[in-house]
Symmetry: C2
Subunit: 139 residues, 2 copies
DNA sequence: GCAATAGACGTAATAGTATAACATTAACAA
DNA sequence: TTGTTAATGTTATACTATTACGTCTATTGC
C-alpha cells in the first residue's frame, strides 16, 4: 500500500495547489470541490478544473484525503508525517466533523485477507458514519 | 451496527424495486444508477428517480450494496442471509470485479475503536482497490 | 541565444450523478 | 364513501467530474 506517504522530496506546491491546501487547512470539516472553488474566486479561480487539478496533486502526495462517501476533501491532520497504513475516517452525521485515525491491526487484517485471497491491495477506503462523542453527549 | 440485516419480515418488493434488483442480480459487477435506467427503459423506466427510489429501498433492506468509491451498486452476494457486521468489498481496477467479504476481526477492531473514542458507530464503508487474483496472474 | 519539450494554467463545453418539487394513482382503513 | 398513506410519474434542477483545446512559462539541448 503506497498511499499516504507524505514524501517531502517532491517539488514545491504551485500557487493553485497552495491556495487549495490553505483553504482546506483553515476549515475543520470536509469541503467539496465546488465550495472550494466558490471560496477561491477572489483569488482568481474561475473553473472547476483549477480546483480538481490541485486536489489531484495534493491527494497524490498525501496532504489531502478524499472522502469517497461524501465526495469531499479534507486536509491531512495526521500528527506525524511518517508513512502509515490504512487511514480511516470517522464522520459525524450530526455536526459533520471528521476524525482521521489509523489502526495498525486493521491494516494487518486487511493485508492478511489480501494475501490469503491473492488480491493485490493498492489502496483502502475506510469510512465510518455515526455520531461523534460531543454529539452523543448532547443528544 | 444495524446494516445488512436482510430482515425478511418486511413488505414485499414493489414492481420497480423488483426490476432493479433482478437487473443487478443478472450482472456480475457493479452498475451505476443511470446504466440501470438505460437497461430498464424497455420495462417502462423513464427517469432517474425511479431507479434511485428503488435503490434506496433495496440498500435499506440489505439486498443491494452501494459502492461509495464507484458511485455504483451491486446485488448482495453474501451466501447466508444472517446478520453480519462490517461488510467489505475488494474492487479490481483491471476487470471491475467486486468481491464482497466480511471479517469478524475487522468489525471487532472498529467497534472497539469506536467504544474507546466515544464514537457511536452506525455504518462502515470498507472498500479495497487493487488487482484480483485472476488479473494478477495474467499480468 | 534559440528551438524543442514538458508542465502548469486558463477556459469552454460536456458528461455523469443525485435530488427537489409537484402532480397523479393505487391501496386501504375509517 | 372518504380520508389517508404509500408508491409512482414527470419535469426541472443541482451537484460532481472530466474532455478538449489553447496559452504561457520554465527547462533542456544545441
Ligand atoms: Zn492523513
Ligand atoms: Zn458530531
Ligand atoms: Zn451483502
Ligand atoms: Zn480483475
Amino acid at each position: 500500500m503506497a498511499e499516504h506517504q507524505h514524501t517531502h522530496d517532491t517539488k514545491p506546491l504551485t500557487k493553485n495547489q497552495r491556495l487549495v491546501l490553505e483553504r482546506l487547512e483553515k476549515t475543520d470539516g470536509p469541503l467539496s470541490a465546488y465550495s472550494i472553488l466558490d471560496e477561491l474566486r477572489d483569488q482568481g479561480f474561475r473553473a472547476p478544473l483549477q480546483v480538481y487539478r490541485a486536489l489531484e496533486k495534493l491527494v497524490d502526495v498525501g496532504l489531502v484525503h478524499r472522502l469517497e462517501s461524501l465526495n469531499a476533501f479534507v486536509a491531512c491532520r495526521h500528527p506525524s508525517c511518517q508513512n502509515h497504513q490504512s487511514i480511516a475516517f470517522a464522520i459525524c452525521e450530526q455536526c459533520g466533523s471528521v476524525k482521521e485515525f489509523s489502526e495498525a491491526r486493521i491494516a494487518e487484517d486487511l493485508t492478511s485477507w489480501a494475501a490469503e485471497t491473492g488480491f493485490m491491495l493498492k489502496k483502502t477506503t475506510i469510512e465510518l458514519r455515526g455520531l461523534c462523542k460531543d454529539c452523543v453527549a448532547k443528544a
